[in-house]
């Protein structure tokens, strides 16, 4: 099912369907996470990922208009070469992942393994530092997103309305902007 | 400290002068250069001929992690090149017309180049040597490019720099390789000379070093940058550029390639390849000079031939040959500037550099003709003038190595009068071609030329003044 979803992601022409099939993949994976006794991750996957992020995607797509990918673009040979290398890469990975001798597992109590409290405790003791880092990361991402998506008002005399005349942007040696 | 002054003075002076108002710059540059010459001369006079090792040595730890020291010193070989360099710098400065555009920058660069050359001749630490070796390319490049003659001086400059770099960067690998291969982790030339690496490694190292030096000298067939560069170079620059920089390559052979790699033998002995190339250079340079109509190019190729003699003498690997080579370095350093100067002056007056389009100028400028014949005769190695002794000794050395080399080299002696006399007679003798009136040599030009010509006679009549101080060569274990 996950594989099917993945194939769907890369084959559907409409972005929407790609997103949906990605959701499919995620849900499938989340189930696997549960099997692998990672409850919290399971939950997070369902809620945050399949939920929030994907919805965000859908919004953007809706905002930008669900343009079907035109049948033929540039770079004819691209798909074939891409496929070729992908296969090569998969084969390599496969051969390397075959016959892996695993390490002996450290003994851990499977009862607590992966539970929410346990995760929480780990997160705020041993993983304090990475946790803080993620917070900074998100903060920065937020600021960036805000900056980028902020309506540029002409008062700042900054990049106001430059969108209307991209050609001026770089000292006047641009090719004309790509037209639809 | 003395030696440091010798290279530091022109450098600082040059930097200052480059930002001075042009009309002062020449005076200041002259003062700087003459001061330097004075110091160099003082060193030469207080030099102790009986000493067997480097003198006036200075040693300061520079990059101790890699055992790189700031080591300076002179011996019987380098002292002469240092003095020559200082002298020619003075003449180059004096030969610079004040009217030239950006004369101050020009003079500054000239001084900087002189400083770099002085450093090359005085450095006795391999890395320091390399630093000077490449640093002097920078002023040379700018001189060629910003002040060059001809339609595309930039091209000649780039060609020169890239070609030289191709060699010297490989030499950098050699420097590092020597440092690693000897296992002693030192860059001190004196020490390195006592611990040659294994022949197989020597084989490779010698190759890279010799390549760099061969390109710089230049040695046949690595000389193709020379015509372009010399053609593009302004005359005052040529005085040091042709007069000294070429010697740096030969000096490198003598100071580094031979002592550090006494037997670079694997399936093939480099010490036989170089002299063969040298002989080829002698003959080839002479032939090319014969074929040239442009006087400047003719002189350029003649200097290829003469450098051939020098390298031949060095690789005679015996005292006569190498002392002759050093002697010849000095001689050529005196003769070639004079040649270029006079050719330039004649071309200025006649309006062309094509020797076949000239003729009969001797009647119009008798003094010029007289001096010109002296220089020409010195160039073709007439006894009684300086070049003869050098060529005689180099050939003697070559003969002792193997007669064939000397015999083939002697062909150069026979060809020299052909092109040199064609140069002189084509310009000065025969029926006058150009009718317009021409002035004779000016006093200032005469003053420039006088020291050179005097030196030609002095060294020609009493060469021992040089050879007696070169006893170091015999003792430095150079001649193996």
């Amino acid at each position: 099912m996950a594989v099917a979803g993945g194939i769907g992601v890369i084959t559907f022409r409409e972005p929407i369907r790609c997103v949906l099939s990605l959701v499919v993949v995620m849900i499938a994976l989340s189930v696997l996470f549960l099997l692998l006794s990672a409850q919290f991750v399971f939950v997070a996957q369902i809620i945050v990922y399949a939920g929030a992020v994907m919805v965000l995607f859908l919004f953007v797509i809706a905002l930008l208009g669900p343009a079907r990918e035109s049948a033929r673009g540039r770079l004819r040979f691209q798909p074939w070469l891409a496929g070729l290398f992908a296969v090569v890469f998969l084969v390599l990975a496969w051969t390397m992942l075959q016959g892996v001798q695993y390490r002996q597992p450290d003994v851990a109590d499977l009862n607590v393994f992966g539970t929410v409290q346990w995760i929480g405790i780990e997160l705020f003791t041993r993983y304090l530092y990475p946790f803080e880092l993620t917070s900074i990361l998100l903060l920065v991402a937020a600021i960036g997103a805000i900056y980028l998506s902020r309506k540029v008002d002409s008062r700042e005399g900054g990049p106001s309305g430059e969108g209307l005349r991209p050609a001026d942007g770089t000292g006047g040696d641009l090719p004309p902007p790509v037209d639809r | 400290m003395t030696l440091t002054i010798i290279w530091l003075t022109p450098l600082i002076g040059g930097v200052l002068i480059a930002f001075m108002p042009p009309h002062w710059s020449k005076l200041m540059a002259a003062i700087t250069a003459i001061f330097t010459l004075g110091i160099a001369a003082a060193v030469a006079l207080t030099f102790d001929p009986s000493a067997h090792s480097y003198q006036f040595t200075e040693e300061i730890p520079w990059i101790p992690q890699y055992a790189i020291f700031y080591r300076l010193g002179v011996d019987g070989i380098s002292i002469w090149l240092v003095v020559l360099n200082a002298l020619l710098t003075v003449i180059a400065v004096l030969a610079t017309p004040v009217s030239m555009r950006n004369a101050n920058r020009f003079l500054g660069l000239i001084l900087a180049m002189g400083s770099g050359l002085a450093g090359v001749f005085m450095a006795i630490d391999l890395v320091l040597f390399y630093v000077f070796w490449e640093a002097m390319l920078i002023p040379a490049y700018f001189l060629l490019w910003l002040f060059g003659e001809g339609e595309r001086p930039g091209r000649a400059a780039v060609k020169f720099v890239l070609y030289t770099l191709a060699g010297s960067l490989l030499m950098l690998v050699g420097v590092i390789g020597e440092y690693v291969a000897t296992g002693q982790h030192t860059f001190d030339l004196a020490t390195l000379a006592t611990i040659p690496p294994s022949p197989a490694i020597q084989f490779g190292l010698f190759f890279v070093f010799a390549l760099a030096f061969a390109i710089k000298t230049p040695l046949f067939p690595f000389h193709s940058w020379l015509p372009d560069a010399y053609l593009a170079a302004p005359t005052p620059m040529l005085i040091t550029f042709a007069g000294v920089m070429g010697k740096a390559g030969a000096y490198g052979f003598l100071r580094i390639a031979i002592p550090l790699f006494p037997n670079p033998v694997l399936w093939w002995d480099w010490r036989w390849v170089i002299p063969v190339l040298a002989v080829a250079a002698i003959i080839w340079g002479a032939l090319m000079a014969i074929a040239q109509r442009d006087m400047k190019l003719l002189v350029a190729y003649s200097s290829v031939s003469h450098m051939g003699f020098i390298v031949l003498g060095i690789f005679a690997l015996n005292v006569q040959g190498q002392q002759g080579a050093v002697l010849q370095m000095v001689n050529h350093g005196i003769i070639v500037p004079a040649l270029f100067l006079m050719v330039a002056w004649i071309a200025d007056r006649a309006g062309t550099r094509d020797r076949s389009a000239l003729g009969g100028l001797g009647a119009r400028m008798p003094v010029m003709a007289g001096l010109f014949i002296v220089v020409v005769l010195a160039a073709l190695g007439l006894p009684g003038l300086n070049s003869f002794v050098g060529e005689f000794m180099t050939l003697l050395g070559a003969w002792q190595r193997t007669p064939v080399l000397a015999v083939l080299g002697a062909i150069g002696l026979v060809l020299a009068p052909v092109y040199m006399l064609r140069l002189f007679q084509g310009t000065m003798q025969g029926e006058p071609v150009i009718r317009k009136p021409m002035t004779d040599i000016e006093t200032g030009q005469l003053a420039l030329l006088t020291p050179l010509i005097l030196l030609m006679f002095v060294l020609g009549l009493y060469p021992n003044v040089l050879t007696q101080l070169m006893s170091a060569l015999g003792q430095a274990g150079l001649a193996r």
Binding site: L36, A38, V41, V53, G65, E69, L97, P130, L137 | -
Partner: protein, 109 residues
């Protein structure tokens, strides 16, 4: 909790790993083939998911928490990347409609 006791058995773990590899490759291929920048972004998400699967598998197999937490971090990062990416794309779409990433070929040479 873990009633279906499959953890730790070699076969299964490597099965999970191979699934991860396949998904990762699919994502890669998607990035290479698709032309819509949004879809490319989605494919990258797919790759990251594959990684998550791998991480969790190891975490379970080694019975070592780091994997899961790493997976969480990756998730967060993926989210952040998605946000920023979408923002940038939106900014671009303000100026011009780019349904083919190859339209972004003004810089070349």
């Amino acid at each position: 909790m873990s009633t279906l006791n499959i953890g730790g058995s070699q076969l299964d773990s490597s099965w999970f790993l191979l699934l991860g590899a396949i998904l990762f490759t699919l994502g890669t291929a998607g990035v290479l083939i698709r032309r819509n920048p949004l879809v490319i972004l989605i494919c990258i998400e797919l790759m990251l998911n594959a990684v998550n699967l791998t991480l969790i598998t190891f975490s379970r197999q080694l019975q070592n928490p780091e994997g899961q937490l790493f997976a969480l971090m990756v998730m967060t990062v993926a989210a952040a990347e998605a946000v920023v990416g979408l923002a940038i794309l939106v900014d671009i779409f303000r100026v011009r409609d780019v349904e083919d990433v190859d339209d972004l070929s003004e810089l070349k040479g």
